[in-house]
Subunit: 332 residues, 2 copies
């Protein structure tokens, strides 16, 4: 096997220019380099799927220029001088946007290709799924039967948030950016109510979907939907903040926050940012629950797959115009 | 004693007009009525001090017109047909703005005039003190040695927040609305750094007072100081929201929130509104701690006292222009 690697090259995408506002193709550079042989203790992974995610926009605020773009990927071991990994193993890695990874084994997670489809380990069975699970159940402290609103609800995280809430007997409202996505929320994902945030009045829709108010707003977007949610929250409501994609590309003239932050006081609302790494201790329970929900059909998922390493910058850029349906992936 | 009451009258202030923006004297009406004799089981309290507080502006959003203004007061029992109270007892009550209270005893709290001066039971030993104590230590989850910023820091709550934080070895920054109040923060209350939010740049002052960032921002005001605090918060920072006095009188054209709410995500910040009633279970510990801190000089306090029931509307209105130094009280 090692001989196959000799003289072979590998492509990766590097972060070379800090974006002002929306990311553009110029922020990235494709680099082709020799793929070295693994040293003792090392292994070589050939990536099969790479993830692009909204959080990467935040990382671009401070990541060093010139470095390989960070991100999760799922690959297969093609050569190993590490006793813990053998050729053929499937592993999650976070070495970033590239066709291959040379690793000493640290930070790799083996996944079971029989438990769920490989690509789901970057989606419902992976980081976005655990983000939804921990953000909703731990940060959001969801109780059975409550009312939940989730924005960006057809996305990789949002669609799972709503479906987990349904398994808890909750009333679930979701918003998305096209009528087709909204249809998917109610018809495929089982949401109770959905609306197109580009054409509908968010507050009216929340009142329609949950007349008595919202207990948990799972925040993915910021902007006017946060304002509507604050107005329609119940006392002791919780707002786990996973993202505010509407604001990530603010530059210079950042958009102001909601005019009704005083609702935080009147209703004793909690707003809390979180990061998926807080939920590492839940991973085992999460994988068990999620595999069960996928098997029973309680959790469905969609994927938008771009092809080839060269397409990664556009896949990432297209996240911000909502071109994806469910988890955005790059297949290598 | 009861004979003294016969034919006597009592004055109270009623809420008669919902304010648009800043409250005005027209929102209130002074009513003089006969003071009835107590029935069996009842007692009569003559109020000595009445409290006016910013939270009352929130109550005016929904309180019924015509009703007596709500609020806490400290008085003395002048007649009692209730076995649990005797003439001369000092009691806290929440019957609102009036010279007398007829009560069946429910919701009254006897206070010890020897433990602390009577007026402090409406201030550092009362609702504002418990608000500071619970909001900082429970909602804010303050740890020893952290960095704390408190706005409206010379007020009834803010001054106690800063001084409690100093007892925990914290670095404390406070803001206030005049140079004289700022001087008081550092020279009398022992804050490490103070600034006048009307003339100084809040972010620069926070960087000066806590170069490594803020762990807890005790929020009393909203507006630009919240924005500066978000920018200068540390990861896992907490923002207990006690009030947003800058926004209470927003009407129609409410002021927008901060432009940098995404800091909530990047730093996993928690923002949480709270209400003092959440901390009822802490009252005993609070009174013990606070009496000790007052006795040792660790907690000092100021009071601004207006005279006579007629002055209550102006005392309340003047809260919003910062005319008070420490706890605003009306002496009857």
């Amino acid at each position: 096997m090692a001989t196959l690697l000799i003289m072979s090259t590998t492509k990766s995408i590097h972060f070379v220019q800090r974006p002002e506002g929306n990311p553009t193709p110029d922020n990235f550079e494709l680099i082709e380099s020799d793929l070295p042989e693994p040293k003792d203790g090392e292994l070589v992974i050939k990536n099969l799927y790479m993830s692009v995610d909204p959080y990467m926009r935040g990382v671009m605020r401070f990541a060093p220029l010139g470095a390989r773009m960070i991100g999760g990927a799922l690959g297969q071991v093609i050569a190993s001088k590490n006793p813990d990994f053998k050729e053929g193993d499937h592993v999650l890695n976070s070495a970033g946007w590239g066709e291959h990874v040379i690793s000493n084994g640290e930070g790799l997670t083996k996944v079971d290709p029989d438990l769920a489809p490989l690509s789901t380990y970057l989606g419902v069975m992976g980081m976005p799924g655990l983000t939804a699970y921990g953000g909703l159940l731990v940060t959001g402290a969801l109780k059975d039967g409550e009312s939940v609103f989730v924005s960006a609800a057809s996305g990789a995280v949002g669609s799972v948030v709503g479906q987990i809430a349904k398994t808890k007997g909750c009333t679930v409202i979701g918003s998305a950016g096209s009528d087709e996505k909204v249809r998917q929320l109610t018809e495929e994902y089982g949401f109770d109510h959905g609306f197109n945030y580009k054409s509908a009045n968010a507050l009216e829709e929340l009142r329609k979907g949950a007349p008595d108010g919202i207990d948990v707003y799972f925040e993915n977007v910021g902007g006017p939907q946060l304002e509507a949610a604050l107005t329609h929250m119940k006392t002791d409501g919780r707002i786990p903040v996973c993202g505010m994609i509407a604001h990530y590309n603010d530059h210079g003239t950042a958009s102001p926050g909601p005019v009704n932050l005083t609702e935080i006081i009147y209703k004793r609302i909690m707003i809390k940012g979180f990061v998926v790494t807080e939920f590492e201790n839940l991973r085992e329970a999460f994988l068990k629950d999620m595999a069960g929900w996928i098997a029973s059909g309680a959790v469905k998922y969609s994927e938008t797959i771009y092809d080839g390493i060269e397409s990664a910058p556009n896949a990432f850029i297209d996240l911000f115009s909502g071109a994806n349906n469910g988890k955005m992936l790059v297949k290598l």
